[in-house]
Amino acid sequence: MKTKPLFIKLSHPIFMKYKTIIGLETHVELATESKMFCGCSGNYFGQSPNSQVCPVCLGLPGALPVPNEQAIKWTVLIGLALNCQINLSSYFERKHYFYPDLPKGYQISQYAKPLCQNGYLMVNNRKIRINRVHLEEDTGKLLHGQQFNDKGSYIDFNRSGVPLVEIVTEPDVESAPQAAKYLKQLQLIIQYLNVSDCDMEKGSMRCEPNISVVNYNSWQKNQQLPDYKVEVKNINSFRFVQQAIAFEEERQALLLDKNQQPKQETRRYLESKRQTEAMRSKEFAQDYRYFPEPDIPPLELNPTLIQKLNKQLQTIDLPTQRLEKLMKDYGLSSETALVLTENKKLGDNYLRLVKNSQDLDKTKLANLLINKKIAADLNPDDFFTQAKHLLSKKNIDQATFDQTIEKVIIDNPKAVADYRQGKQTALQFLLGQCLRTLGRQIEVEQLKHLLVEKLALKK
């Protein structure tokens, strides 16, 4: 099969003709100690299959869910960070569908009354409205036979019941790069809240874009959403999100060119082909038969809890605040500050270590960490010592070295002669004379090497 070109030149006529409308559904697994509705550990990554399960997350007859308070608080925290309204009265519902990785035949989720609603996230000065932030549970994982050299399918329920937050935007995103930007920003915010590691590769953050390409003129006229949208699943990196959206933009545009309406469907992204492929038709909305979960009483949040969480949020530096702080208080360039903001862990270490290294240059310290010249996991004292040593080395050019050494050799003929007769102390003397000129804070070994070389030449 011929692979279609992925990115289209900006001069392509479709850019004048069409507009892309994107809504993003993002799932984030919360890093709570236990699962959403039982006491099992929620940290399933790398654990042996079905080793972290109990009657509740296996959906055994008679087992009942009890909600994890921490997960509810963290979801509210995410909602507050995304400028959402918090519903003080909210409840869980059952969302029914059959799939082997869903042990109860329904997922406990939120529908009519999510915990958080009507927020927004600013992305490059553009407001991306957040429709809702709600809490649900993750499913198990299906493993297919090839891995075990047979044709069977296997289910690992370790992931079953891990708390999952779903963040849904309004269809406010207009392009693939903007989608990526939104996602990166969302990821950072949640990482900064310390509630999830948001690792796309590990699957603790997953994104499903909903993409509709429409005729630009008719959109300008009535701003009406079309009655088709394509949901793309199976995306596990920001790069693939962009590629999948770009592919869909072209695919749908080409259909519209031919006066065909794109089908409402769910497609899957295939990395190897850089294409999306149809999974199932979505022409008829699936009936999930939602109804309030009778096993869990409605959630009534105390307003003081919201106040407390809001206060907690004030004490947390979010990415924009850190960026600002690094530039303003630490005098870092925007590029350096951005690196330390986007790599949260590195930035955390920088802020932790820089406190004890006050008389050292803050930009240079940052560069040491960024360029991995120094270990980031040191204790502040060791960091200070090492950093001081590294930073105090002067950068002396080769010519200065050469001049200095040659001058010392000429000025001290006796010592040179002593050295050449095998007197090692004479070398130390000559070295000292060089250092006197160059200053002590240089690489002594390098200087010694050069001196020995020159002494050998002049013989």
Partner: protein, 462 residues
């Protein structure tokens, strides 16, 4: 006249040993079960071992034999809910109530028959055949806790655990002539009880004496961190309630006599006179006619059933979905329908609104009266086969109970006599967490009538 306390007393004074009692019990069960079909699974080996090893009788249920309805998960003991789909299901965990019974020293005798998945009021929809009524083997024991009710009525043993969604403890208790106590929703943990209607399900004891029901309830009740719907309200001292002897204002509503067999009404009137003689006042009240609760209950319960049975999808329990019986399939289809887009508002949501009306109706009533009394069932035990022709059999048989169940209220059935050899029941129900008052009144009635003396011809005195 064996009560739990008398049994314990006889153990302590070494008049009896539980091993001898338990082995005698199994002998009798094996003799009668072929015709009663009250038990699906016996726990003989383990029960005897446990009885033999018993030395300390300090625990409140030490050496006390008890029958368990087969919808409670019992660790390492087969649990089917009378459904072939779970024919070989051996739970890896104990329901909270089972754990409590075990922790208090009880000896589990076996698992009792019921309507499959608790779908019914006859025990005739069991995938393992019907249980028969100890008073007449050609008749039904009621249900869905029919196996437990028949076991208690026959003294095999006189203590059992049942569960009720709307009538499943009290209706079979009425038809088998035993005490059946359904607590307030949330008073007793549902964890490990195979769900039927999750917003209604409630475990409760079936016994021959009010005292035993009170004692068992006291041990089973309480907040459970594994059940988010269990209440944190402190548990009353139900044993103290047995001696309270308070005078009550009792509500009586004409709507609860509509369509009730005149022989049952006659028997009820005799009971009423006894209660009056004991110094209780009767007051006529107006309640929403319980017949309206039939449609409401049907919608809510079927919706929850259709959801609760989704997990038996054929992936994990070995048996395919085709092993669901007709009754279960009917309920799932009806429930799925009422939850579907476009029908949800018309059925499920409307039913929830009417539920609120009924709750409020009772709240108003309990401003005027302490407790309400009524017949438990419209008829006495019907013949085998009668449930099969009527898909709404259960709802009709439970119509006098459903309204109070929908409101989550506690209630009890007391045997008040025999009509043509068949037991007649009276129910007392009250406001939320009024178990204390219910037990108090029930005990006064029991002391006056000694109804526990009524028993079937095959009754076994342990």
């Amino acid at each position: 006249m064996t009560t739990i306390n008398r049994l314990r007393q006889s153990y302590r004074t070494k008049k009896r040993h539980p091993a001898e009692l338990i082995s005698g019990l199994f002998k009798q069960i094996k003799k009668l079960n072929p015709q009663l079909n009250a038990y699906l699974t016996l726990n003989e080996e383990l029960a005897l071992k446990q009885a033999n090893e018993l030395k300390n009788f300090d625990l409140p249920l030490a050496g006390i034999p008890i029958a368990i309805k087969d919808n409670f998960c019992t660790k390492d003991l087969r649990t089917t809910a009378s459904a072939k789909l779970l024919d070989d299901f051996v739970p890896p965990y104990d329901a909270t109530v089972i754990k409590k019974l075990k922790d208090n020293g009880a000896i589990i005798i076996g698992k009792t028959n019921m309507d499959a998945w608790a779908h019914g009021s006859s025990t005739e929809t069991s995938d393992y055949g019907p249980t028969t009524n100890p008073y007449d083997l050609n008749r039904l024991p009621g249900g869905s806790s029919g196996g437990s009710a028949a076991a208690v009525a026959s003294g095999l043993p006189p203590f059992a655990l049942g569960s009720e969604t709307a009538g499943s403890i009290r209706q079979p208790a009425a038809w088998c002539g035993v005490v059946g106590l359904k607590p307030t929703y949330g008073r007793v943990s549902r964890y490990g009880l195979i769900a039927m209607g999750s917003s209604l399900d409630c475990p409760g004891p079936l016994t021959r004496h009010v005292e035993d029901a009170a004692l068992l309830l006291g041990l089973l009740a309480g907040y459970d961190k594994y059940d988010a719907t269990s209440t944190k309200e402190p548990v009353d001292n139900y044993l103290k309630a047995l001696k309270a002897k308070r005078k009550f204002t009792l509500g009586i509503s004409d709507d609860y006599f509509e369509g009730v067999d005149s022989k049952i009404i006659n028997e009820f009137m005799k009971a009423k006179r006894i209660l009056e003689k004991l110094g209780h006042n009767f007051k006529k009240i107006k309640l929403i006619n319980p017949k309206y609760s039939i449609s409401l209950y049907t919608i809510l319960q079927r919706a929850e059933v259709s959801s609760n049975l989704c997990r038996y999808d054929g992936v994990r329990f070995g048996k395919p979905r085709s092993s669901f019986s007709q009754q279960a399939k009917r309920r799932m289809m009806l429930g799925a329908f009422t939850l579907s887009v476009g029908y949800y508002d018309a059925y499920y949501l409307k039913a929830q609104k009417i539920r609120t009306l009924i709750i409020n109706n009772f709240k108003e009533a309990f401003k005027q009266v302490d407790l309400i009394v009524a017949p438990t069932t419209p008829v006495t035990a019907l013949k085998l086969g009668e449930s099969e022709t009527n898909p709404m059999f259960g709802e009709v048989m439970d119509q006098l109970i459903e309204a109070s169940s929908i409101a989550g209220l506690p209630g009890i059935n007391l045997p008040i006599g025999l009509q043509q050899g068949l037991p007649v029941g009276l129910q007392i129900f009250g406001p939320h967490l009024s178990e204390t008052e219910i037990i108090d009144l029930a005990k006064q009635y029991e002391d006056e009538t000694a109804f526990y003396q009524i028993k079937p011809s095959d009754f076994y005195e342990i």
